[in-house]
């Protein structure tokens, strides 16, 4: 029998510490929509998405009401469009993006991911069409998210692709300059992208997946922060144990919601993503966890170790709580979406270089960092390349979602609104890497990728 104190603990986590299920994401394969007629293809994908996800929003809301836990987002990921649409006779894929946007509106989801290409080794003509369509697609739609995988541990880094996406980031920023270059907030560059990521903007439905799957992203930085308040001054064993126990409890809620959503939608359960994801709300911040651990500000010496401890123990606790763990499963440190990170940047405590260091020990990448709009494309390519190298060598997923805010400089703020928050413009190392990145070609796979 559940005790009154256990019941109150759960209720406090939800009402006082922002425990929620961050997203139920339905992955939908579009491979069976292939058609050489562009219009027919668009009609088929619209029909399939709206049919499969017809009840997604309603069921997410029902579960939320019945269990009393917020299910914040309902989202859709689809097969990378560069693959799904590769049979179409067309000039570009912008109309596909518009179709995805309409399908998102029709199903009531706030984001749809998968306007994507996997080009870590080579770029097909269809991939190239997709890449070239990204800036107008992101500028012309509201809910479509795009990602490009440019590197992997198994195949190395496609430097030509890195240079292309750096240019795409800049072009997208230009095309959405009136809204603080918000288009870039919907675009992620990956190394070792995963097939079952439920989190935006990098979600797509991998080609090894089934026809349809439910992936769930749990969250609860506030709950972790609240829990470790009781460990002030205690040693690392106590700290780690507390994070582990808390992660277990949070993940059990995610597992329950995932199974229930899967059953009600009659769609197989894919995986739970064990990522702590902040929001701009007070008390829902990764930075506050780092402060509670004992750092004056994120970015102070010790920050990399703190994020390593946090990640590792979230996984240790979470893995046991779920039957399938997948997705990105690493702490997110999106600067603009985390009140504490924004403050740390404003104070000069947190720099782009320190963010990069944090990504070495498992946070997922440089995320929602705003930089000056006049940053050269070659420097953007260098920033992306460094992050890809970390992912490639460490056999982990890394990502870059960076926003060169056109017309703004260091110290100014970029305002994105809603869940995307606001970001202070960070300074970028002014020295050039142009001759380095212009070499192009492919960086060969690292020696430890040869495991066979």
């Amino acid at each position: 029998m559940i005790s009154i104190s256990e019941v109150q603990e759960t209720i406090r986590m939800i009402s006082e510490a922002n425990l929620d299920v961050r997203t139920i994401t339905m992955g939908i394969s579009l491979l069976d929509c292939a058609d050489d007629n562009y219009e027919t293809f668009c009609r088929k994908i619209y029909d399939k998405i709206t049919l499969k996800a017809e009840h997604l929003s309603r069921i997410g809301d029902d579960i939320s009401k019945e269990y009393g836990v917020p299910v914040v987002n309902k989202r859709i990921s689809v097969t990378p469009i560069a693959i799904a649409a590769s049979g179409c006779r067309c000039e570009d894929y912008v109309e596909v993006a518009r179709t995805l946007d309409r399908a998102a509106v029709a199903t009531g989801v706030n984001f749809i991911g998968g306007f994507s290409a996997l080009v870590h080794k080579g770029i097909t003509p269809e991939d190239r069409k997709l890449l070239d369509s990204i800036p107008p697609a992101l500028a012309g739609t509201e809910r479509v998210c795009s990602s490009v995988n440019v590197a992997s541990t198994r195949s190395g880094i496609n430097m030509n692709a890195v240079n292309i996406v750096a240019r795409l980031v800049k072009d997208t920023a230009m095309m959405t300059a009136a809204a603080d270059s918000i288009g870039c907030a919907k675009f992620v560059v990956f190394c070792n992208a995963v097939d079952d990521n439920p989190f935006m903007a990098g979600a797509f439905h991998g080609i090894g997946e089934g026809d349809c799957a439910i992936n769930v992203g749990v969250s609860g930085p506030g709950v972790v922060k609240r829990a470790i308040e009781s460990t002030r001054g205690a040693d690392f064993e106590t700290l780690c144990e507390t994070v582990k126990r808390t992660a277990f409890k949070i993940t059990r809620v995610g597992q329950l919601v995932a199974q229930e959503a899967s059953r009600r939608l009659n769609v197989p359960f894919g995986a739970i993503d064990l990522s702590l994801a902040p929001t701009p709300a007070i008390g829902d911040s990764i930075a506050e966890i780092l402060q509670e651990m004992g750092l004056e500000q994120p970015g102070a010496p010790g920050t990399t170790a703190a994020i390593a401890i946090l990640n590792d123990n979230v996984k240790k606790g979470g893995v046991m709580a779920s039957s399938y763990v997948g997705g990105l499963s690493g702490a997110f440190i999106p600067v603009s979406e985390d009140r504490g990170m924004i403050e740390a940047v404003k104070l000069g405590a947190l720099t782009l270089e320190k963010l990069e260091a944090m990504t070495c020990v498992c946070s997922v990448g440089i995320d929602m960092a705003a930089i000056p709009g006049d940053t050269p494309v070659e420097t953007l390519a260098g920033i992306i390349l460094d992050e890809m190298a970390i992912g490639m060598i460490n056999n982990k997923t890394t990502a870059v979602r960076i926003i060169p805010v056109i017309g703004k400089g260091v110290g100014e703020m970029a305002e994105f609104g809603g869940l995307l928050g606001a970001a202070p413009i960070m300074s970028v190392n002014p020295f050039s890497c142009a001759d380095f990145v212009k070499r192009g070609g492919r960086i060969p796979a690292p020696i430890h990728s040869f495991r066979n």
Binding site: M1, I2, S3, I4, E6, V7, Q8, E9, T10, I11, D62, K65, E66, Y67, G68, V69, K249, R252, V253, Q255, L256
Partner: protein, 89 residues
């Protein structure tokens, strides 16, 4: 299917009575009650049987929340599985 009703707030006359009336009107049986009052604050948990309930859980949860607001306490109804999932392996 069982639900857990929790009530938190300042103690006053008739809290349990009003909640039980709401439940009985919807054919919901109370299986167990635990409560504490600390410093005038009322903290109660009820285990209720929803298998014969005449209204879906989600709408009863909304109804109880509204009732709670009227009598000045916070009332929640949740499926018991969320607590079992979190606290029992």
């Amino acid at each position: 299917m069982k639900g857990i009703v929790t009530v938190l707030g300042k103690d006053s006359v008739g809290i349990i009575a009003k909640i039980c009336l709401y439940l009985s009107e919807r054919n919901t049986n109370v299986l167990d009650i635990a409560q504490t009052i600390v410093g005038g604050y009322f903290n109660m948990m009820m285990v209720v049987d929803l298998s014969g309930a005449s209204e879906p859980l989600a709408s009863m949860a909304v109804g109880l929340e509204t009732l709670g607001r009227d009598i000045g306490v916070v009332v929640k109804l949740q499926h018991e599985d969320i607590f079992n999932a979190m606290h029992r392996i």
